[in-house]
Symmetry: C2
Subunit: 143 residues, 2 copies
């Protein structure tokens, strides 16, 4: 197989890996904690953010979703009290999202589950392999 063909294989493998990961984690998270994988990812971003607060558009970018996707994900999360909406005094267009205490608690529990699942799924990868792949994935051309 030549170089280009290997890259095409990579595309297909990444897609397959993502299907696998999504299915496993989404199912488990839903069953145990009542949230989906996307909701977990939102909580993760908020939990790591300065003052636990992020603009919706930045959330969209970091999760690889559209602005409208974020609107729709956040709606039920606000209803169930995992996050709160806050307006930005400096720019009235912006609406900020903040994780609540309840959200943090769910996140911390869910994070344990995700960690365990990841240990299982990536069981055959050693640490240096993991680090290399992380680095490579961060180098994908965004053009």
């Amino acid at each position: 197989m030549e170089k280009t063909e290997k890259r095409v294989s990579l595309l297909l493998s990444i897609n397959a890996a993502n299907s696998l990961l999504t299915k496993k984690l989404d199912g488990t998270l839903g069953a145990i904690h009542g949230i989906g994988l996307t909701e977990y990812m939102v909580l993760n971003e908020l939990n790591n953010a300065h003052e636990y607060t992020v603009r919706r558009i930045d959330l969209a970018d970091s999760l690889g979703k559209s602005a409208s996707g974020i609107t729709r994900i956040l709606l039920p999360m606000e209803k169930s009290g995992l996050i709160v909406k806050q307006s930005n005094l400096k720019d009235a267009r912006v609406s900020l999202v903040k994780i609540t205490d309840a959200g943090m608690e769910i996140f911390n529990n869910a994070h344990l589950t995700v960690s365990q699942k990841c240990e299982q799924i990536f069981a055959h990868w050693n640490e240096s392999e993991t680090v290399s792949v992380l680095k490579l994935l961060s180098m994908l051309s965004l053009r």
Copy 2:
């Protein structure tokens, strides 16, 4: 960051990479060849298969989709003549899918586009890195 946390990062990075890849390729394939990324993947499987023919359930497995997903993807592909349905004489439950000549032509053209895009996207990965990641992805625990 500890080992487990790196694995969780990996999950998020793979998800982000997949969003990126999907968006780029799906858009380009649709604009130039009138097919989606999933349709491309179907044609790719068929093109590599023995006698260009595959059972629907095997297609589902290899693409990481559900049986019903495959039914729904294949319907328009059959209408537009990219594939044909064939029944299996040995087992009346299975229905086989075969790529048509028209399907092959579309596939070959689309494959060129995909190859070029992959060259771009993975431009900073050298061959041995590509091969390593391919190998690692094939080692994900399927349990």
